[in-house]
């Protein structure tokens, strides 16, 4: 699977992402934000960090970066697009995913392990999840408080677009397990078409048990599965 990690000025999780994809067998490349061509790739990742210093609003300036037009075109073809943390903020600013990410409710930068319930296991990003417990994956952000107006939230729920929710270790959704004030404990969502996923937690920091958890692997492994199916479908077409 050919995967691209987009590098903006101010990205700082690009190396972690590259490492995670590499050890899980992706054929991975960095792509500088001025490089306009993504045709060869199956997956594009917008990594975490502080693109353009988070000026104005997190993700607001990156949205107008030269690569984003190409990223849109890439996603329109139905190829996989994954936004982590700042990448998720960029996806909402761009309008590729609905809603917005506000300042954390406690105004602090939160850096900790959280537990995530996978709400929909039939997506290209979660199909490999066989675990019966919540995923343990870290977060590190100051603006991860997911917001969407009531009608939008209803729509997300009705279409099973809420993919990850913050839970406690026993898999209960409650206020104590919500690290940033996100509406409905939402940690990650997918678009209607099912090829664009945004999430605040960092699965790329949870791929080796030695470093605390390897639960993040399921996302990258799911994508490989989904990609195989995509390719088969294409070759039969």
């Amino acid at each position: 699977m050919k995967s691209a990690v987009i590098v903006f000025p101010g990205s700082n999780c690009d190396h972690d992402m590259y490492h995670a994809l590499k050890i899980l067998g992706h054929d991975v490349r960095y792509v500088w934000h001025k490089n306009p061509n993504l045709d060869d790739f199956d997956l594009v990742v917008l990594p975490g960090g502080f693109s353009y210093g988070d000026y104005l609003r997190a993700g607001a300036i990156a949205r107008f970066s030269p690569i984003m037009l190409e990223v849109r075109r890439f996603a329109r073809k139905g190829k996989f697009l994954l936004g982590i943390c700042n990448g998720f903020q960029i996806l909402t600013e761009t309008g590729l995913l609905p809603g917005a990410l506000l300042k954390n409710q406690n105004i602090r930068f939160v850096c900790q392990q959280v537990f995530l319930r996978v709400e929909n296991r039939s997506t290209s990003f979660t199909n490999a999840n066989k675990l019966r417990r919540p995923l343990k994956i870290p977060i590190a952000h100051g603006e991860g408080n997911y917001f969407i107006e009531a009608a939008g939230l209803e729509e997300l729920r009705a279409n099973h677009q809420v993919i990850f929710r913050y839970v406690d270790e026993q898999n209960n959704v409650n206020a104590e397990a919500n690290p940033n004030g996100s509406i409905d404990n939402i940690a990650g969502i997918i678009n209607k078409e099912g090829n664009i996923l945004g999430m605040m937690p960092h699965p790329e920091r949870a791929v080796e048990t030695m470093l605390g958890s390897s639960d993040g692997r399921i996302i990258f492994e799911s994508l490989q599965e989904a990609n195989k199916k995509n390719r088969k479908a294409l070759s039969h077409a």
Partner: protein
Amino acid sequence: MKAIVKIKLKNGILDPQGKAINNALHHLGYNEIEDVRIGKLVELRINGRDMKNIQQRIQEASHKLLANPVIEDYEIEIVED
């Protein structure tokens, strides 16, 4: 000419920064202050005379970039200097 764009969170969206400042003001004894909302002020220096066009362009720019219409409201004021 100058355009001043005032941006604030939409009513009903919790402003934790404003809340913290409200608490600090109460600690200082300003108990008559009931609520604080924090916003942004963007000042744009403009080269041009066509008022109608400027108003429309700044409106467009505010909608596209300066504010995020999902969570923020904005007001535009054009002033001669």
